[in-house]
Symmetry: D3
Subunit: 249 residues, 6 copies
């Protein structure tokens, strides 16, 4: 039995509160077990220099943990004048994940900033951020779309993420902090609504893993991704994205 009485193939209880911050174009509080992240989507009417004049938009993410989101207080980056390597790795991952399902040409010359601020951490903060940021992004896009519809609705697919891993020899999904910190193999999977992968990051720092292990972990992950996509659909009350272009106004 797992520490929180889940089965190996069960994802944690996931709750998403939309419109959590009044100023943002899109914003959610996402809670996956005891992991809580505020995700906001902010729209800016300009793009980074490398896209100026191309007609394409950009999506970028920033990730941060509040100092006391963790068991022992984490020193703020600004106090050390350096951004944490782990933080940069995570925010690059979130950015890639979200860009993978957006048609940047259809978006036009806008930047969407996805800010994921972890207020309480209990494992899986990067995957929770991706799942939550997607919902905030849809809300921000729809806010524009309702006032001035895009010619082509810029979101092509649902996207979410979860983790799988091997803990004490057992393969399991959606690891909490206690499980994650004793995992031999740890893998983050970002998947889409039509069952494809956007990103697979598996690490066996403690112990290398075989092709067979990898396959079993992917089986677990694919199943979890489906469940989480359904949670996103329920909270957004949208069964499929492409309807958005036509009827969702």
């Amino acid at each position: 039995m797992r520490s929180d009485n889940r089965k190996n193939n069960s994802v944690r209880h996931t709750k998403i509160t939309r419109n959590y911050i009044k100023h943002a174009e899109g914003s959610v509080l996402i809670e996956v077990g005891d992991t809580k992240v505020i995700c906001t989507a902010s729209i800016e009417d300009k793009v980074p220099p490398f896209l100026k004049g191309t007609g394409e938009g950009w999506i970028t993410a920033e990730y941060n943990m509040l100092p006391r989101s963790t068991a022992t207080r984490k020193v703020r980056d600004i106090a050390r004048l350096k951004q944490d390597g782990r933080t940069m790795e995570i925010q690059r991952l979130i950015g890639r994940a979200l860009r993978s399902v957006v048609d940047l040409k259809a978006l036009g010359e806008k930047t969407i900033w996805l800010d994921c601020d972890v207020i309480q951490a209990d494992g899986g903060t990067r995957t929770t951020s991706i799942t939550g940021a997607f919902v905030a992004l849809v809300d921000a896009i729809n806010k524009i779309h309702r006032h001035k519809p895009f010619k082509v609705y810029p979101i092509r697919e649902f996207v979410c993420a979860t983790s799988v891993g091997i803990v004490n020899g057992e393969k399991m999904i959606d690891l909490c902090y206690e499980e994650d910190s004793s995992a031999q193999v740890d893998m983050n999977i970002v998947g889409t609504g039509n069952g494809e992968f956007v990103e697979i990051q598996g690490t066996g720092e403690e112990a290398p893993f075989s092709r067979k292990d990898l396959n079993e972990l992917l089986d677990l992950g694919e199943r979890g991704i489906k469940q989480i996509i359904q949670i996103q659909k329920d909270i957004l009350k949208m069964d499929a994205l492409w309807i958005g272009t036509g009827e969702s106004k």
Copy 2:
């Protein structure tokens, strides 16, 4: 009439949720109107170099705004590699305010970190932070006190803060963002449970103010401080702090 239908001498609706973050020794979500701040108190068993070996403790505060706590997205300090002057000014103020009611000798060689992270801003974030940080501090101190009572209970008084100002010629308390941004005079008041002041910061950048104006603003402020102290007492279910030493265990 004020933008949110309050009277000039009414403070905004104030809600404090205790034990908001599971890892912290003390933590609250404080909401004053639409201003929302997460305040955590973290205890560390060491002190800064200048206090080593003195037997005295220290209390320090850090303040930060989430990027989208504001109407337009605020760039993170780490992206500019510089801490904002306003941020530093505010966190120094919070630290002084809280230290003013704590007996650092009675605390012993411990540091208490008060982290105030604004998740939604609508004016008064610094005064809200002080009011909320005090409740988080009491919870953290009591957590120690219940397990291993202090010889002298280290908190001497309640402390809270609010703002007063002159907006369109009217004197009013607890300014929201809209009022604050058009104020001719703006004053932050930090006061204690026994009716004294810890800090007065009044600025008439837009228009200097007279001694008479100052007196009327202080009258308004003193009344508000009393109301807010009562809110703290209610949420803490502690009528007076000194009882803490004896019966609060």
Copy 3:
């Protein structure tokens, strides 16, 4: 008796040397007791981005202490790559104080940089900086005014600053370092030539203070501000600022 034989209501001997640095549009060496600050005013023909095209000017201040202005050598900010919180607080205060008496529209799209570099510190460096920076500012403004008169003379009032505090239970004005470091209550007052306040910053970190204490400190401060304004008038040989527009050329 005070350490330097002053009475509680006497400000220190104040000496202002104009045109101290040959390159600057305005510059003074101001000596208040043993506190010595070089204040320069530099005019730049552009404004920060938020004012571009508005026709308004800007006034900003920078404050710094030379490493050996203090009893023990102070490490330079650049060696730590961080600006000191106290420094930022002070330079923001100086900027607000000076802007409060300048008509930024009348100034036009110019920035005036006020650099206050403390060469010897003995308490009251921030108030000394404000008093000196005002004289440097007037000289810089008049330099322009003599060659190409402003339609409306942009300085509206004299402004200066001093400190008051409670030391060993005694209320006194213009604290030297020894007094300041043992003060229970410390207050900085920025006041104008017509007897109004621009800024009041009172702190009772060591001991909260009552409304009565506050009133007595303000009485002391108001008296000192008048004396210091007179010193500014004498050194500038200008009895009132508005005459400037007409006869001071």
Copy 4:
């Protein structure tokens, strides 16, 4: 046909020059096609704070590109005062990869720094760095081992890395820059001498990928890893690592 006339399943010509820098305990120049990286291994007789007194050692990596290793000159990190996110991601990957095959207890309280400086880049700099850093690491470990043998030889397995990807719909191995920059799917694989995986990082930012695609890419990658391990064995003239403990002196 590929740009350099290779078959889809051929890795590039790989040349490793040992003892390339005279000061380092281990050092190689590794050339994979036109990608050239200097990898050095430096031994330091202390460990980071979190390992002090545990008897365990540490392995950490730093990665950097010379400004003109790339087609257009890359500004140095120090000129921007920020470390590039991509750089941090890569050096964290190199560190994990190398630690995965080292018995840190057997190493004892030493830190081994692996510096990978890219002098010419043509795709695959991170995988080339891992492959080269392993050879430098073995040389550094053996230098110690020859003088004062470890009780347990600390390297458990060979480790190397390569990339696979989908370019214009074709699956291929060891992408050069031209291929990499137009890849729809890009995957880095770190594998060991006994056929297991240490790290799998696959990204379909341009186009999500199916489970079937993933399987075919892994087939390609496994084959390449075997070839590269053989190149390492040849240059090190060591057929298997465990012999090291006994006879390699």
Copy 5:
């Protein structure tokens, strides 16, 4: 006898490999004894702000040591967030040396970046960098010149550098690290093809030196400069630069 059996007036064996990095407009690996530096020249079609619109070009240099170019590993600048004073001094020297022989008007509005990255250090890295950077610069200039000839060929003279010093009372040229670190007087000389000096930097930190010593060191240096210029001419297969304007196409 010197540590490497050279005579006091012999420069070390010098080897220059041209076109060492494929991406750069000019690039060499220069080896002077065991000191090895990669020098690249990169052409950018813009100039720093102070030259915009003047029609003049600019030449600037950056110098860096790889962490393990030295006997003990040198921490990277970015890890300390500060550029080393010695590094800045050296790169300013390289920039001045190269600019001294280039006609910046003839160059036109271009910037040439000279990057000197030391991969192995054994004394004389700054002088080696100057000597090598000149060859890379000529190659970069000639690359332009071949395609679109300059009206006036912008390089006026050869330039190179070497060191002289007093070690154990003996005057000698081109000090290796061992000699340099025990030198009483150390002088770097930058000289041109027509026998003039561009820069003389002599330091007697350990022991002041007389006018006579200075003269003897300069005699030694002048002789060495001539030898090194000949090495540059041989590797460039150019006997004199001014021919460049006419026939070198």
Copy 6:
């Protein structure tokens, strides 16, 4: 005739005010023409890590220009988060110059910080800093020596500095800013009381210079160094340093 009516071989009027800053162990205001520098010497009872336990002391210098010491306001280093290359070069030079005449063993495990802050610049700030810092250093050393005499008086010689250069074809000494900015050749000379050189830094960025030019510049410089040493002796009322050990108490 030179801009200030001096002859080519005349140094500028030099005035040194001792005990200028009350807190410092040694301090001067040095004025050389219109160049004005505050030099302080601060004694600290510890040494940098590389000297701990060796019994030797250290001397280090920091140099800075006040923002308005120059004709156009210079942005503070801290505002750019980077120390200027020129600044670092100068402070390294000042440190070497002063260390060259001090017996660091005789000094014992102390660090002397020499802070040179330029309040008004008109050419020659680095040489003025060296000349002034020496006087501050003697005062600081003598302050110790009077209370607790050194066994061996740690200052071995007087040291000062001046510049020479070629301006419009004329060789001249002690260049003011106007001359310096149009000089073809510029040389800084640091010399001792017994006629030796500590440092020679000559640059012909605008135009290389011949051995003959160098000799004539050195002749000019040697003469100036003698004059400046005499000025130091007069202000210190010490004819020779070695008397210090015996009688100067």
